[in-house]
Point group: C2
Chain length 411, copies 2
């Protein structure tokens, strides 16, 4: 017997037919003798519809009331899944975030502060199944709160940690985590195992299978996560603490190639070579909560001016330029150049900690195709480069092959 959390996304909950299929998956786990809590998203499209209502109602809306409106989507699917499971003869009941309670830190983008699992323990003692709406909780003063878009993954992981689950299964519309985007590289392989750290790097550079927050939370509690398809009955990808022994030795040094088109390049021309100039640039950006990445400064000759290049999320570009215009005269750079036609490519893998050749192989492989590298950044388990966007597919394909990730032909 295991204690598990099953989480189903909006595509899996879109309409009664799909909810019935979800119920059959829940039933199977329950009939294996497992203790099951289910976390559900709103029907696909429903949260967008509700958010749109809020936007139409007022240009600036109170996050407290926004939460009242958008939390309703998961409330509906929770009740419907409970009804469906009951119709199959199972002992299922829904518990809203305010009923457990799931305590949230604030509105619209609340963080989970704690979950009271006393009610769930009683449900499991009575061989029951608990259905919990994802994405929501209740504040200290008793108001409905939501966790920000995609928060249902986080709800599921937090719940699994609180109830000391053996595993948290995230059912979605893909069947696992791949070595790269299969739409670009048909030879992409599904990974059986990936570490939390690798998953965090893959997620942060564009492989949007799981919400980054939820992976970080699972890592903190060493909670095994599984990503699998609610539509195809095949094993998914396990996300685990570390991959030891034989499995590790046989793994590729690079686990996957990710790309992220949501970065924009900013270049400040003619930055004076004096102490504090760079700090005067990044200070205002930090104050505006803009994440700066991939910083490159051309090395100036003594006393001359240099150029400073970095990336920001494309969504923050306009905001960034406004902040930079405000300090342009003070800092003394002459021009702000921006480019959104760039892509960030990353090779990710825990194995590269002890392998200096990974970065060198990336640069050589891209140089062979005459692909210009605009910026570079590295971490212990990742090498990232910024390149012109038009080379995205070519670059992903050649790197996937270069690192030995291509699937064998099945012929």
């Amino acid at each position: 017997m295991a204690r598990i959390v099953m989480k189903f996304g909006g595509t899996s909950m879109a309409g009664i037919e799909r909810i019935r299929h979800v119920a059959s998956l829940v039933k199977r786990e329950a009939e294996r003798g497992n203790e099951v809590a289910v976390v559900v998203s709103a029907m696909a499209g429903e949260t967008d519809r509700l958010v749109q209502f809020c936007r139409e109602a007022a240009s600036v809306y109170d996050p407290r009331e926004y939460d009242v409106v958008v939390a309703s989507g998961e409330q509906v699917t929770s009740g419907l899944l409970a009804i469906t499971l009951q119709g199959m003869g199972l002992n299922a009941r829904s518990y809203m975030g305010w009923q457990l309670p799931i305590r949230a830190s604030g509105h619209a983008t609340g963080l989970i502060e704690g979950i009271d699992v006393a009610v769930l323990e009683r449900v499991f003692d009575a061989a029951g199944i608990a259905i919990i709406p994802g994405f929501q909780g209740v504040t200290i003063d008793g108001a409905l709160a939501t966790l920000g878009r995609g928060g249902s993954d986080t709800s599921a992981v937090a719940l699994a940690a609180a109830m000391k689950a053996d595993r948290c299964d995230i059912y979605t519309d893909v069947d696992g985590v791949y070595t790269t985007d299969p739409r670009i590289v048909p030879k992409a392989r599904k990974l059986d195992l990936v570490t939390y750290e690798e998953m965090l790097e893959l997620a942060s550079v564009g492989a949007k299978v799981l919400q980054t927050r939820s992976v970080g939370l699972a890592m903190r509690y060493r909670l095994p996560l599984q990503v699998l398809s609610s539509f195809e009955d095949v094993p998914g990808t396990m996300i685990v603490d570390d991959i030891l022994g034989e499995a590790h030795m046989e793994r590729n040094v690079v686990t996957g190639i990710a790309h992220d088109r949501n970065e924009a390049r900013v270049t400040l021309v003619g930055l004076p070579d004096r102490p504090g100039a760079v700090a005067a640039v990044f200070g205002p950006l930090a104050e505006a909560n803009i994440n700066v990445d991939m910083i490159v400064q051309s090395v100036p000759r003594a006393g001359e001016k240099s150029d400073l290049t970095f990336t920001v999320p494309t969504a923050s570009l306009a905001h960034s330029v406004a902040a930079l215009e405000g300090v342009k005269a003070d800092v003394g750079f002459t021009e702000i150049l921006t480019d959104t036609n760039v892509v960030k490519l990353s090779a990710v893998g825990v194995g590269m900690r002890s392998n200096a050749g990974i970065a060198a192989k990336m640069f050589a492989t891209l140089a062979d195709r005459n692909i210009n590298i605009l910026a570079i950044t590295t971490s212990e388990i990742k090498v990232s480069v910024l390149i012109p966007e038009e080379y995205t597919e070519l670059a992903v394909r050649v790197l996937h092959t270069a690192y030995g990730l291509d699937a064998e032909d099945e012929a």
Copy 2:
């Protein structure tokens, strides 16, 4: 300064444009210095959509989970109205039924057991506007509960009673209570005043402006109700305790003519003339919670058999016949005849208590048109007759004229 509850139905809340108009009506009352609580329905069609989901999910559904699903409709409109009012610069906030709380007796067709208004008193002290979802509350064990279809009128009246409001305004898609259905009688007049008792009789015989439960509740607390249009800025109809003095003297003895097509006639042929026979018929119907109305028994000659005719709601007809078939042999009647092509016409008015001629005028007026009366029932403030349905419009028109209810020509 007055303390008022404003209630808006589903048609008034259907979409952001209409919600914006509702907000302007709320703003006007607030700017007059009134203390305002607003009770809202779900957007028109939304509750039906949610109920349909439940039906598709399982043929028999748990009322507890049904309530979780359908209560979401009013949650959404409450939040949206709060956002819209805030966008207009007003201090508005929504409070769910479980937050006040509004205590409900049970699921799906719960009754309101009590409302805690401490939170609302604090809102009014801070010159705020409270938005409350209609149709819902919370059970003693903390589960979401709904009050049954149309329950938002009842929510509004119960809230008004609990907060000792001066008035409860029910905004709807008609501009008041009419002497009869204006689609049948173009000369129907809007009533300025009507008593609770008259309104109860009018509602129970088919004038569906207000939910009967809400009128009964208003009567118990002597709470003035107003029915008015959310689309047209004209005075509505006040529903009050009693109409005294001049106003009373000038009123017509008959206030309105109502009709109800939702009754079916049942005739039991050959009922034996012995003690207990009638009780043996109505006992099983009462046990099945079927409301029997308009009972007529043909007077038998001593020792002979008689016929028994009565009406039941059309929706309960199949159920009634099944119950009667079960006692047919025991009771000894020979046949069950049913007829759904009947209509119940009623003349209602508090003035008729002291006026014996009302019933006589009805019978004479219908006889003049050769309209056959199938059954009769009377109360202190109502005379009702059952007639063949095909005469509905004709009968309503001639009675409206006979009782002096026609509007003057405006020529």
